[in-house]
Symmetry: C2
């Protein structure tokens, strides 16, 4: 049964729109962020959201939001990039997956689109990670 309180402003509930398929199977194997990755993988979107993909085409860069379902949501300070020599810093000053709302933002290049499946490069995300949003990458204004 859906709980109407989930859609309140206080604690809105996310809809999972799809899943990442990648060859990154362990957190230790994940690139620290997407600018360092040339890995290829597939975003599989649920059929009920396929209509929203109209206009996502080969060659575009998309901004993909994922939910790091394995991340610790209670942590507010981390060693940046896991480097303990750097001392602790607030999670909001880092890209750590640990944070109150573990939403990852990745820029990925579209290599192919086949129905609900988008092949992408630049992947830095664990296999099986839930996807919550895809956006067009904004162009820089001059």
């Amino acid at each position: 049964m859906p709980n109407p309180m989930q859609d309140s402003i206080q604690e809105p509930a996310l809809h999972i729109i799809g899943t990442v398929h990648s060859d990154i199977l362990r957190i230790e194997d994940a690139p620290k962020f997407h600018a360092e990755s040339d890995r290829i993988g597939t975003l599989e979107i649920l059929p009920e959201y396929q209509e929203g993909l109209d206009g996502v085409t080969v060659g575009k860069t998309i901004v993909v939001l994922c939910w790091f379902h394995q991340a610790d949501r209670e942590v507010l300070r981390v060693h940046p990039r896991g480097d303990k020599s750097k001392g602790l810093r607030g999670v909001f000053a880092t890209r750590s997956p640990m944070r109150p709302n573990p939403i990852a933002v990745s820029e990925l290049k579209v290599l192919a689109v086949d129905g609900c499946r988008i092949e992408v490069s630049g992947l830095d995300i664990l296999d099986g990670t839930p996807i919550v949003d895809i956006k067009n990458k904004p162009e820089k204004s001059s």
Copy 2:
């Protein structure tokens, strides 16, 4: 009472970490996106999350994720940027606030930090919008 189902992988619940204070009071007044805005406003973070701000300092660019609580979550096709001459496009190929999970991604410049309050420029977000995350902006790798 918290509902344990809210933290399931299927429908994770977001924690609101703060609120945007801006002079953008109506959707019609909002810039279409942040690259076009030089507006100044304040991010007010809840005290229980203040520790996570350690390292957010003047001059940095931060990536701010907000929850567009007024957006229609059922829409999967829109006229890009509201321009009806352009025809409909899937929401995932646009930056429309309407989408299954209406999370806005904005890059804002930090002008001042005072405890739980961060003054920023580049704001494109309605006054009163809930904040769900703040990240360091990744540097471009060469």
